[in-house]
């Protein structure tokens, strides 16, 4: 007897006799065979009816942006409502992105990865995919960036046939992780990363299920914000589903479906033509790093094996081919670690488009076409493609921003060489500090905070102008620090200052944009905690062509400040910026017995703060471009007079010779500065060595294994994953054939170095691999 479709789990959602997986396999096969998405060697619809095609594009894209702008007003979370941390994306039936809204468009691929996971794991049989369903996902092991990005995914049907999907994502304030805030540091594994939802059916007939509503709200610290974020996502998805139905009624299902596949091939071609129009073929090599200083006492984690200092390493070889395709190869990257800074391959491959839309493809036509025009190589086992199902991802951005910045520097080299100087960007800020914490807030409720002031860091310098001050973040093209008044409503933290951070932009002929700093005083909270999250011992990005990297981070916190009494008696208060951390002023306006921490430990875990305690939120600057002694003396003068630059470094780095009048106004003497700069050139050569001479000294240090343990640890994990990187390293330094560096010889915990288990090894799980590993 023949089994029924229901019994074999075949729902015939496409009404063509194929399962979703069979249909998707066909598309992949045709794409691989022809090099064109879905085998579309011609764009028949666009070429035969260009006006109709553009009309469809405009209606759909306009509708996506409109839905985002409308839906975000439902949210109460300042992260969504103020910073715009949301996005809506339209997919075809196989989960390839057709078009997306504005916003955090990193999720073009992450929600697509969730849809593909449902397809590959036969969701159509169980739990079933029906009109009116809603699915929720934030699982980082199948493609999400970090657990706080919650996605609602709604299938779109037409006359009973599945024709696509719409997804909406918001960045929520809290995910119920071990510690509060959405990107916390206290956990070392997925199991502490917070509430994790794997493509779960959370709604039917357009209504969220009650078990989901009850369970999800009590799983996080901020249920009010959680539920309003969910309503934001649902409203946006339903608006877009209605829009698609309206478009089909007006233009016909045939035109819509042709568009939904052709526009991806158009996107693929579009990226290739942009690459040819703006860049230059060749190989570009860049590298970036970030510090993970977990040995410090202020990092309190539950595992002894996580207590070590380490460095994340991201070497990038970008090859732009003569045909306009490009390949991004991260061979040599270091291993994932016991922290929350690991990234899934899709977070990487999808994520770069949020950056690229700010440089190479600043168009509305962002879709999966760009993915199909790119070859990615992310070696398995690295921080950007972990091979263990236990990895934590809560703050994947700690290094994603740095890993991508190397790409931006490579592109900027090509723009510079080609003469598109206006496009050059020396790199990016490490978008931190992240002020996070929680406890009982000013309304007496359990609460968590995650300040998004970091969405306005300094930008990298351009080849023709300075970077922008406190303006942007690589992961959010909108860039908005948010209003003080709104943050004070969302957080029991009063502002005692919000100032441009002096000396935070990297020096150069054109300097990086300065970051900013806000001094916050705890107010009206109970049992309040906070922690720091950012770079401190290292810079995660470099300068360009003679420009310096930006300043690194540091932390300032103060307890037992005596401010309650000082306010009562009208004594002086710490106000404004921490102008020169080598000569601190805040300490002059708090009790001498206060407990102060001023150091470079910029990652900490949850610590207690009483009312009137202080926390400095320092948002980083961007890197500089060109030799600083080429900087226009007038620009230095302006920086001095606006307190963007400390006088000591105007002299030492820029060679500026200046005077200051009785009113404090600086005047730079151009002639004397020119003369001083001639001396600086001589001083440089007097202290320098020929590179090959210096290399002999450095080689000796390597042969003798003389370096800090975190440096050796980074190399050891990269060597263990890549023979090619090891050989290149040994060749460069002419090391003996038997020279090796193993993790086991370093005397630090090496848990996970040898024994690992990937998610794909779980029974009944098919993972979706979208990169060369």
């Amino acid at each position: 007897m023949k089994m029924s479709n229901k019994e074999i789990g075949f729902a015939d959602l496409l009404k063509n006799g194929q399962t979703l997986k069979q249909f998707r396999d066909g598309i992949i096969e045709r794409t691989n065979a022809t090099g064109h998405y879905n085998g579309q060697t011609t764009l028949a619809f666009r070429d035969s009816d260009p006006i109709g095609y553009e009309k469809l594009f405009s209606k759909l894209r306009g509708g996506l942006v409109h839905a985002r702008e409308t839906a975000k007003k439902i949210a109460a979370s300042p992260i969504v409502e103020q910073e715009g941390e949301l996005c809506f994306t339209l997919y075809n039936a196989v989960g390839d992105c057709v078009l997306t809204s504005t916003g955090i468009i990193i999720h073009v691929g992450t929600m697509g990865a969730a849809i593909k996971y449902m397809i590959e794991n036969n969701w159509e049989a169980n739990p079933g995919i029906n009109p009116g369903d809603m699915f929720t996902n934030n699982d980082c092991s199948i493609g999400n960036v970090h657990p706080c990005d919650i996605a609602t995914i709604v299938p779109i049907f037409w006359e009973g046939r599945l024709i696509g999907w719409v997804g909406g994502v918001t960045h929520v304030i809290d995910t119920g992780a071990v510690t509060p805030g959405s990107m916390s540091t206290g956990q070392t594994q997925r199991f502490g990363d917070g509430y994790m939802i794997t493509c779960r059916k959370t709604g039917i007939n357009d209504e969220p299920l009650r078990d989901w509503l009850h369970e999800s709200q009590r799983s996080v610290r901020t249920p009010k914000y959680w539920i309003l974020d969910e309503r934001t996502r649902i409203a946006g998805c339903h608006m877009i589903r209605d829009l698609v139905e309206e478009v089909i009624r007006a233009d016909g299902i045939e035109a819509y479906e042709k568009f939904a596949y052709e526009v991806i091939e158009e996107g693929r071609r579009g990226l290739q033509s942009r690459i040819k129009a703006m860049t230059l073929p060749g190989k570009y090599r860049k590298v970036s790093f970030v510090d993970v200083p977990y040995k410090h006492d202020d990092v309190q984690v539950s595992n002894a094996f996580a207590k070590l200092d380490s460095i994340m390493h991201s070497p990038c070889e970008m090859t732009i081919k003569p045909d306009g395709k490009w390949r991004l190869d991260f061979e040599g990257a270091s291993r994932w670690g016991w922290h929350t800074f690991n990234a899934h391959q899709v977070a990487f491959t999808s994520g770069i488009w949020v950056m690229m839309c700010q440089t190479l493809v600043p168009t509305q036509r962002i879709n999966d076409g760009a993915y199909f025009a790119t070859e990615f190589r992310l070696p398995k086992g690295t921080w950007c493609n972990p091979d263990d199902r236990r990895t934590g991802h809560a703050y994947a951005w700690h290094f994603l921003v740095s890993g991508w910045a190397a790409l931006w520097r490579g592109l900027s080299q090509s723009y510079f060489s080609r003469g598109f100087l206006e496009e050059v960007n020396a790199g990016n800020a490490n978008t931190s500090n992240w002020l996070q914490g929680g406890g009982i807030n000013q309304d007496g409720e359990i609460h968590a905070v995650n300040s998004f002031e970091a969405s306005s860091c300094g930008t990298g310098a351009c080849a023709i102008k300075d970077g922008l001050n406190h303006a942007a973040a690589i992961w959010n093209p909108e860039g908005d620090m948010g209003d003080i008044e709104i943050w004070e409503m969302a957080e029991p933290l009063l502002y005692l200052g919000r100032n441009v951070k002096a000396n935070s932009g990297g020096y150069g002929k054109y300097r990086g944009g300065c970051g900013f700093e806000t001094l916050r005083m705890v107010w009206n909270a109970q049992d309040w905690t906070m922690f720091f999250m950012g770079n401190g011992f290292m810079n995660s990005d470099w300068g360009m062509m003679g420009g310096y990297p930006s300043a690194t981070g540091y932390r300032f916190e103060a307890h037992k400040t005596g401010l309650e009494q000082r306010i009562a008696i009208g004594d002086s208060l710490p106000l404004g910026g921490d102008l020169d951390p080598d000569n601190p002023d805040y300490e002059r306006h708090i009790d001498a017995t206060a407990s102060v921490k001023r150091d470079k430990q910029c990652i900490t875990t949850e610590d207690c703060y009483a009312n009137h305690d202080l926390y400095l939120n320092y948002l980083r600057g961007g890197p500089g471009f060109g030799d600083p002694i080429d900087r226009d003396p007038k620009a230095i003068e302006n920086d001095l007079n606006q307190t963007f630059l400390l006088p000591e470094y105007a002299q030492k780095v820029y060679g500026a010779v200046f005077t200051q009048d009785a009113k404090g106004v600086f005047t730079v003497d151009a002639a004397k500065t020119q003369a001083r700069r001639a001396e600086i050139r001589k001083e440089r050569l007097a202290r320098a060595l020929p590179t090959r001479e210096w290399m002999k000294e450095e080689r000796e240090r390597i042969v003798n294994k003389h370096a800090a343990v975190q440096v050796k640890h980074m190399f050891a994990t990269s060597f263990a994953l890549s023979e090619k990187f090891t050989q290149q390293f040994k060749d460069f330094w002419s090391l003996p054939a038997d020279w090796q560096l193993l993790e086991s010889e370093l005397g630090v915990p090496s848990y996970g170095a040898t024994h690992r288990m990937d998610l794909s090894l779980l029974p009944d799980v098919t993972t979706v691999v979208q990169v060369e590993e």
Binding site: A277, L280, P281, G282, K283, Y284, R285, K286, V287, D291, I311, H313, I320, P322, F416, S417, R418, G419, F420, L421, E422, A463, I464, N503, Y507, F537, M538, N539, G543, G546, Y548, P549, A551, T552, Y554, P581, D582, D599, K600, D627, Y649, V653, I680, R681, R684, L685, L689, P690, T691, W694, R701, I702, A707, A708, V711, F715, Q728, F729, F732, W733
Partner: protein, 167 residues
């Protein structure tokens, strides 16, 4: 296709182009003739006679010398060697690998810890121009940043004759 005058492109290379035109350059499709205009503006500016094949940095170029060899050259005329070599290996380098050296350029709390990261400043051995600042960990190989495919760029992408190159 938007186009710009030679004078506008020369102003761009000087950093003195008006914002309205700069904004147009940013927002409009790129002009195909920019590279030729850029080379023309740079060639008029540099003190050397060698033909610029490809600009690498504000003071660094791949040029065609009198013997038709392609070499990397500073704008003071110092030659760093064959264009396929990593020019940094033939530069002068100063490594900021102590707290004292690092605090020359940033306040102590705003500078990297040299147990984690060092700054390598690459200077022209003749004129002292700083062509690059690397910020790697100790031990890191000197990065060979860029190996352009000049022939494909000239011939296939721009339709320009490739400058003669001695074997």
């Amino acid at each position: 296709m938007t186009t710009y005058t030679d004078e506008q492109v020369a102003h761009l290379t000087e950093g003195s182009l008006d914002w309205e035109t700069t904004f147009r350059m940013l927002s409009m499709p790129k002009d195909h003739s920019r590279f030729e205009q850029y080379l023309k503006a740079l060639q008029a500016k540099v003190p050397f006679k060698e033909r610029i094949v490809l600009p690498l940095g504000p003071h660094l170029y791949i040029v065609q010398n009198a013997a038709k060899q392609w070499v990397t050259q500073c704008d003071c005329g110092h030659v760093f060697g064959d264009y396929r070599e990593n020019w940094k290996l033939n530069a002068a380098v100063y490594v900021r690998d102590t707290e004292e050296a690092m605090t020359e350029v940033y306040p102590r709390l705003m500078a990297p810890d040299t147990q984690w990261q060092v700054y390598r400043e690459y200077y022209c051995p003749s004129c002292g121009a700083m062509h690059d600042v690397e910020a790697p960990t100790p031990w890191y190989p000197v990065i060979h940043d860029f190996e352009p495919d000049i022939e494909a760029f000239y011939r296939d992408w721009l339709g320009l004759p490739i400058p003669e190159k001695a074997a």
